[in-house]
């Protein structure tokens, strides 16, 4: 008889709803910023309001992320120990530990998100300091901010999956694909949120909304492929998902959150004017359920 998998002999860290919330919002913050940068750098200038919306979403969302992470610590007042050594005040960084590197990148990304948030306000002529608009493309300085911030944003959207893998817990440590799944899902949920809010606030043009839907469709297809590969890569450990978690994954994450919105985006299923909004809402729900299944199913083992 084969010995059982060694990840079954470990203890759960009790990362629960706050962490589920952080992983979901972190994906949205990173994804929204990345999409805003993309639209600013290569998109039609007519879509600048859509990019602006992305910056306006990214900063408050990443601020909430920092708050969730701090509250989740058992000693929240020591949150800064992640960044500075508490005795010497020298920088504390272990690049091979995703949580350590992630803390620094989250801080840096928060800074870029704030700068772009202010620049987006200034660009509109509404901020108190109109010269801050130079920190947003197309200027050279703005382009630099956008490129650096966009790379950090991608990291923030994806590193959480790698963080789960760099443990010894069942499911998490039994695959190398959680990072890529979370990254794609972050981009997808961010596009859905942009489409949803862009529609309401009339920030986006019809072509802008179509581009978002096209992008999200691609993301959903990629996510489906990555999820199937993830289940295959788990091998025998996927047995943990036989039951309620698997049902939630198949019906909630894949059915409700991927297949149904794809059908709505492709107009193979029609709900009149509401099609786009319903699809985007379903994508957001699916993205949240993905984090719920991945995190809580392992916690329960």
């Amino acid at each position: 008889m084969n010995p059982p998998p060694s990840t079954l002999f470990t203890a759960p860290p009790e990362w629960q709803w706050l962490i589920v919330g952080y992983f979901f919002l972190g994906g949205i913050a990173g994804g929204a910023y990345f999409l805003a940068v993309l639209i600013d750098l290569v998109g039609d200038p007519l879509e600048r309001p859509l990019a602006r919306l992305g910056y306006l979403i990214a900063f408050p969302t990443v601020a909430v992320c920092g708050l969730l992470l701090t509250v989740d610590l058992r000693r929240p007042e020591r949150f800064w120990h992640m960044l500075l050594q508490s005795e010497t005040l020298r920088p504390m960084l272990k690049p091979w530990s995703p949580m350590s590197l992630g803390s620094w990148v989250l801080l840096l990304f928060g800074g870029f998100a704030l700068v772009s948030f202010l620049a987006a306000l200034a660009d509109d002529g509404r901020g108190r300091w109109p010269r801050l608009a130079a920190l947003r493309p197309p200027g050279a300085l703005g382009t630099l901010v956008a490129v650096l911030g966009g790379l950090l944003a991608l990291f923030v959207a994806g590193y959480t999956g790698v963080l789960l893998t760099v443990t010894n817990r069942p499911i998490w440590a039994d695959t190398s694909l959680l990072g890529v799944v979370f990254l794609i899902s972050g981009a997808s949920t961010a596009a859905a949120l942009l489409a949803l809010l862009g529609r309401r606030r009339a920030g986006a043009s019809v072509t802008g909304l179509h581009a978002l839907e096209r992008f999200d469709s691609l993301m959903l297809v990629l996510e489906l492929i990555a999820l199937v590969a993830l289940v295959i890569s788990l091998g025998g450990m996927a047995r943990v998902w036989l039951g309620a978690w698997g049902a939630l994954l198949v019906l909630g994450v894949i059915g409700l959150g991927i297949v149904l919105p794809l059908a709505l985006y492709r107009r193979s299923l029609r709900l009149g004017d509401a099609s786009g909004a319903v699809a985007a809402t379903l994508v957001l729900i699916g993205g949240f359920l993905l984090r719920v299944v991945i995190i809580l199913s392992s916690e329960g083992v």
């Binding site: 079954l8 470990t10 058992r74 440590a173 990254l183 990629l222």
Partner: protein, 259 residues
């Protein structure tokens, strides 16, 4: 550095008295669980159940009975932090709270830990947990304070059968090999050492003599470092980032090319 110090726990002479658990709690001033009110596990004579933030030694009871309970077997093992030479908890700890001492042991500094719980998920043995009294991750320190003044750890001192042996790891390994040889000669040919050589996580400074497969004692058959998939995960994520970027270009750029 002083010599590497550790434990050799010989499970064949453990009588399950739990003196080690009590001595550990006394010396390290660990609080009682559940405010001191006793709770029964209900399915075992062992009511400690597992190692956690307030149980740094745990005598595991392996109770195997036939359904009619006419036949049975007891195995007893005083479990503890393995003080791995390549320690997963130390590897991931983002605050630097987890250190390697001059005795080659692994210690969590409670005044540095902020309770992120990454080490709990990283430990291949499920040893670490939060101590609710401090709100920090805690585990066996191999009595770091006692070692610094030349005393042996409280559990080894209290053990009435010398199931728990403390000393320089090199000496313990010799002692353990001799013990395995003796048991084999006496007919207990199943006896073997778990974690005594460098193959398992570079060596466990706290290793065990067992007479059945590791999983019977709730020990992982093949413990690994948490970073084993870091490189592959990182590259897969980079690939994902490239795909997301390309999809973005395809989706948004087309309109930019209009006159």
């Amino acid at each position: 550095m002083a010599q590497a110090m550790g434990f050799f726990t010989d499970t064949t002479v453990c009588i399950g008295c739990k003196a080690c658990e009590v001595a550990c709690k006394e010396w390290n001033q660990l609080p009682a669980s559940n405010g001191g009110a006793s709770t029964l596990s209900g399915d075992s004579y062992d009511n400690t159940r597992r190692l956690d933030g307030i149980h740094w030694r745990h005598v595991r009871f392996v109770e195997q009975f036939t359904p009619d309970r006419s036949q049975g077997r007891w195995l007893l093992m005083s479990d503890v932090c393995k003080h791995c030479v390549r320690a997963g908890c130390l590897e991931v700890c983002p605050t630097g709270a987890i250190i390697r001492t001059e005795f080659d042991t692994v210690v969590i500094q409670s005044d540095v830990c902020n309770g992120c719980r990454d080490c709990i998920a990283a430990c291949p043995f499920g040893v670490i947990d939060i101590n609710p009294a401090s709100g920090t991750a805690q585990k066996c320190t191999l009595c770091y304070d006692r070692l610094q003044v030349g005393l042996e750890p409280a559990c080894a001192k209290a053990c009435p059968t010398d199931s728990i042996n403390f000393g320089p790891v090199a000496d313990l390994r010799k002692m353990a090999e001799a013990r395995v040889g003796k048991l084999h000669r006496q007919g207990e040919t199943r006896a073997y050492l778990y974690g005594a050589d460098d193959k398992m996580l570079g060596g466990l400074n706290s290793f065990f003599l067992l007479v059945d497969t590791p999983e019977v004692y709730h020990l992982p058959p093949d413990p690994k470092l948490p970073t084993r998939r870091l490189t592959s995960s990182a590259w897969m994520s980079v690939l994902g980032g490239v795909l997301v970027g390309l999809a973005g270009l395809v989706s948004f750029r087309t309109r930019g090319s209009r006159p």
